[in-house]
């Protein structure tokens, strides 16, 4: 409940004051350090971490292998280097980290961990190496205007919907118009496209974004926060005075060289699998997968659409008035409503009865939609056959089936190939709508790349070009065959 939050702050403050004064003195007692000795003997130090908290520590996959990265990992590497040992990383639940320390499973923990009083009871902490907090991202060009939260009075500012940042902005900036936006990448986009003047974000995340977007800049939030909950330190087993000293030395070095911003920047580039750069070529796999799905959906849509369409066209030609009416109504209705609602209807409506995966729902919706258009194409094809052909066949005594089979259909099919080809082309474009239910087609991937690279427009342009290449080459191919067909 929202009311808890403020209260917690106060409670924490009280506890921490008590804890830091009460316990910190009792640590220096024993200069023997089993942990340190063990590390030096083995030649490696085991880091325990819970890699689900970007940009502190998180996993990234490249070449199908996952790897731990993040600011804390970089710090841990420095510690290992300074100790002259190798670094081994053990991933576990956050809750198990302290137990692992106490039982000697790991030698140190860097996991965005606050050196809280309660924790100090069971483990040792190094000096604080990072102080987080809430920052504000602004456009560089506005650097003169916005200094901290107070510059945003009566301005437009954004934060993630329902987040702590959102509440901070609402409560601590007078008269600001706060927009809630769901995704980090969209927040950046909103900022870059001047839809808001600033974005409130947790400091390290803000720094990761700023490091990867030349146009934006982090400024101090200046929010009233409890100091303690924003600091991060290294945890190690109780009674590790030597290790603690060594680690503090490394931390001092890191602070002196101001290495953390660089580590954060690196972490930013890793976010969601981004290994080195934010160039679009680097993301070719995403786009390729998107193109694959787009083509898959279009092809299946065309095939099932053709089957549906043929059935509908045959119903339309049947002698049964009811069937004719049903077919006509279906075609009219489907052609009269947007694919978007049809898709929602299939996904959510049919979903009431069977659990449809998004991809299946997408293909079904696209096929049913395409079927209506194909039905009209086929009907048009049949109508395009000169009525004289029917009359000639009829006056030769051929019955209805034979007339269809030998005379009308072969000519109709020949006439409709180009229209079917166009239907295929338009499916490639229209299938883009399935992204709204989460099918990983080209548009969906474009959004992923957007949020991965924190770049708004480049992925759109790439997707646009890819769509164009697909539709254009297909239409050329079709024209080529059509010409061949007509000449041959």
């Amino acid at each position: 409940m929202k009311k808890i939050y403020k209260f917690i702050m106060l409670a924490l403050l009280a506890i921490t004051v008590f804890a830091t004064s009460g316990f910190t003195t009792s640590i220096k007692a024993d200069q023997k350090d089993v942990t340190y000795d063990r590390i030096m003997k083995r030649g490696y130090i085991v880091l325990g971490t819970s890699p689900d908290y970007a940009p502190y520590e998180f996993q990234t996959t490249s070449n199908n292998k996952s790897k731990d990265v993040g600011m804390d990992i970089s710090v841990a590497k420095d510690i290992a280097d300074d100790l002259g040992v190798k670094l081994k990383i053990k991933n576990m639940d956050f809750d198990s980290l302290l137990v692992a320390l106490q039982t000697g499973k790991v030698d140190m923990v860097l996991s965005g961990m606050n050196p809280s009083a309660a924790r100090r009871k069971s483990v040792d902490f190094s000096d604080v190496y990072y102080k987080g907090g809430q920052s504000i991202l602004i456009n560089k060009k506005d650097a003169g205007i916005y200094k901290n939260k107070d510059s945003f009075k009566h301005k437009k500012i954004a934060a993630q919907t329902g987040s702590i940042q959102y509440n901070l902005a609402k409560k601590q900036i007078d008269g600001a118009k706060v927009s809630g936006i769901q995704k980090g990448a969209d927040l950046i986009l909103a900022l870059q496209t001047n839809k808001v003047e600033g974005v409130v974000m947790e400091k390290p995340t803000a720094e990761a974004y700023a490091a990867n977007n030349s146009g934006i800049k982090v400024i101090q939030g200046g929010f009233t926060l409890n100091d303690d909950e924003t600091s991060t330190a290294v945890a190690m087993p109780k009674n590790s005075p030597v290790l603690r000293k060594k680690i503090n030395t490394t931390i001092s070095k890191i602070k002196a060289k101001n290495l953390l911003p660089q580590y954060l920047k690196e972490a930013g580039t890793y976010l969601k699998g981004n290994t080195v750069n934010t160039s679009m070529i680097h993301y070719w796999k995403y786009f390729a997968m998107g193109v694959g799905y787009t083509i898959l959906i279009s092809i299946l849509g065309v095939i099932f659409g053709f089957i549906t369409g043929t059935l509908l066209a045959l119903l339309r030609l049947s002698d049964n008035k009811v069937l004719r009416g049903l077919s006509a109504a279906y075609v009219e209705f489907v052609r009269g409503t947007p694919l978007m609602v049809q898709l929602m209807f299939v996904y959510f409506g049919l979903g009431l009865f069977v659990n449809l995966p998004a991809l299946t729902a997408g293909i079904i919706a696209v096929s049913l939609n395409s079927g209506a258009y194909v039905a009209e194409v086929i009907r048009g094809g049949i109508n395009s056959v000169d009525d004289g052909q029917r009359e000639a066949a009829e006056s030769l005594g051929l019955n209805k089936r034979d007339r269809m089979r030998f005379v009308i259909m072969p000519q109709a099919l020949k006439n409709i190939w180009p229209a079917l080809g166009n239907e295929f082309i338009s499916l490639i474009k229209e299938s883009s709508i399935v992204s709204i239910i989460g099918v990983t087609d080209l548009i969906y991937q474009l959004k992923i790349v957007q949020s991965d690279t924190y770049r708004g427009v480049a992925p759109i342009v790439v997707a646009m070009i890819l769509y164009f290449v697909m539709t254009f080459s297909l239409s050329r191919l079709l024209k080529f065959y059509e010409r061949k067909f007509n000449n041959g």
Binding site: D386, G388, Q389, E391, A392, A393, E394, S395, L396, G397, L398, N399, D402, F406, V407, P410, Q411, K414
Partner: protein, 247 residues
């Protein structure tokens, strides 16, 4: 007296409010060569199509060899149509089939002939219309005159009792008209009963034994060619002839 093939009694055809054919009665006897002439829009095509029930008459009776066609179901009519060959102004060959297939399709599917038999018969018909070398050609590669001759062969392949022609030469370039009329002349000589809508007065005069002059939704005059061209009974026929002959 020759056998009666087609008998039309009080035939009326309307499209909506427009009366295209009004209360027409006439008959076609075995061996008759009837030329139907008249101005454009007189209803000649509609009349011809009513004879084989491609158009359903609004009222009246059309009998083929004594059977009233207007009473028949769609299926029965399909059967009756075998007996009536029809040749259209625009040929209406099936462009997706060779000439041979065009001719053999109906005999095989409707009459149940074997393919060999049908082919043999088709080749002899092609020979008859002077196109034995075109059996494997596609309609699109034929000239207009050739197409129309194939269309005639196709109709003949069903061994009809009567052949209907709807302006068979008017879509042709002038120099191709002759070859089609020649085939029709031959057919007439062989004793085929024929009803021919035509603007070729020469043909009408020299080949047919009756001229039916249509105008204004009815047959205004039925005469022998000699009578009709030398001394038409109605003023309308006179006017028509004066327009069409004096150039």
């Amino acid at each position: 007296m020759a056998k009666e093939i087609i008998k039309i009694e009080n035939l009326t055809k309307k499209y909506g409010k427009n009366t295209i054919l009004k209360d027409i009665s006439a008959e076609v006897k075995d061996g008759d060569i009837i030329s139907v002439i008249g101005p454009s829009g007189a209803g000649k095509s509609t009349f011809l199509r009513c004879l084989t029930l491609l158009e359903k008459p609004t009222a009246g009776v059309v009998s083929l060899e004594g059977e009233d066609l207007t009473k028949k179901t769609q299926k029965e009519i399909e059967h009756v149509r075998e007996k009536v060959g029809m040749v259209f102004q625009n040929f209406n060959l099936f462009p997706n089939m060779t000439v041979l297939k065009n001719i053999t399709l109906a005999p095989i599917r409707v009459k149940g002939l074997s393919e060999a038999k049908a082919n043999q018969q088709a080749l002899s018909l092609l020979d008859q219309v002077g196109l034995s070398d075109k059996a494997e050609a596609y309609p699109d590669n034929l000239s207009g005159g050739q197409r129309q001759r194939v269309a005639i062969a196709r109709a003949l392949a069903m061994k009809p009792d009567v052949m209907l022609f709807d302006e068979p030469t008017s879509a042709l370039d002038p120099e191709m008209v002759g070859e089609v009329l020649d085939v029709m002349r031959q057919l007439a000589k062989s004793g085929m009963t024929m009803v021919v809508v035509t603007h070729e007065m020469g043909f009408a005069q020299s080949v047919s034994n009756q001229i039916w002059f249509m105008e204004n939704a009815g047959i205004q005059e039925k005469s022998t060619p000699e009578e009709f061209f030398s001394n038409p009974k109605t003023d309308r026929a006179k006017e028509f002839l004066s327009k069409i002959l004096v150039k």
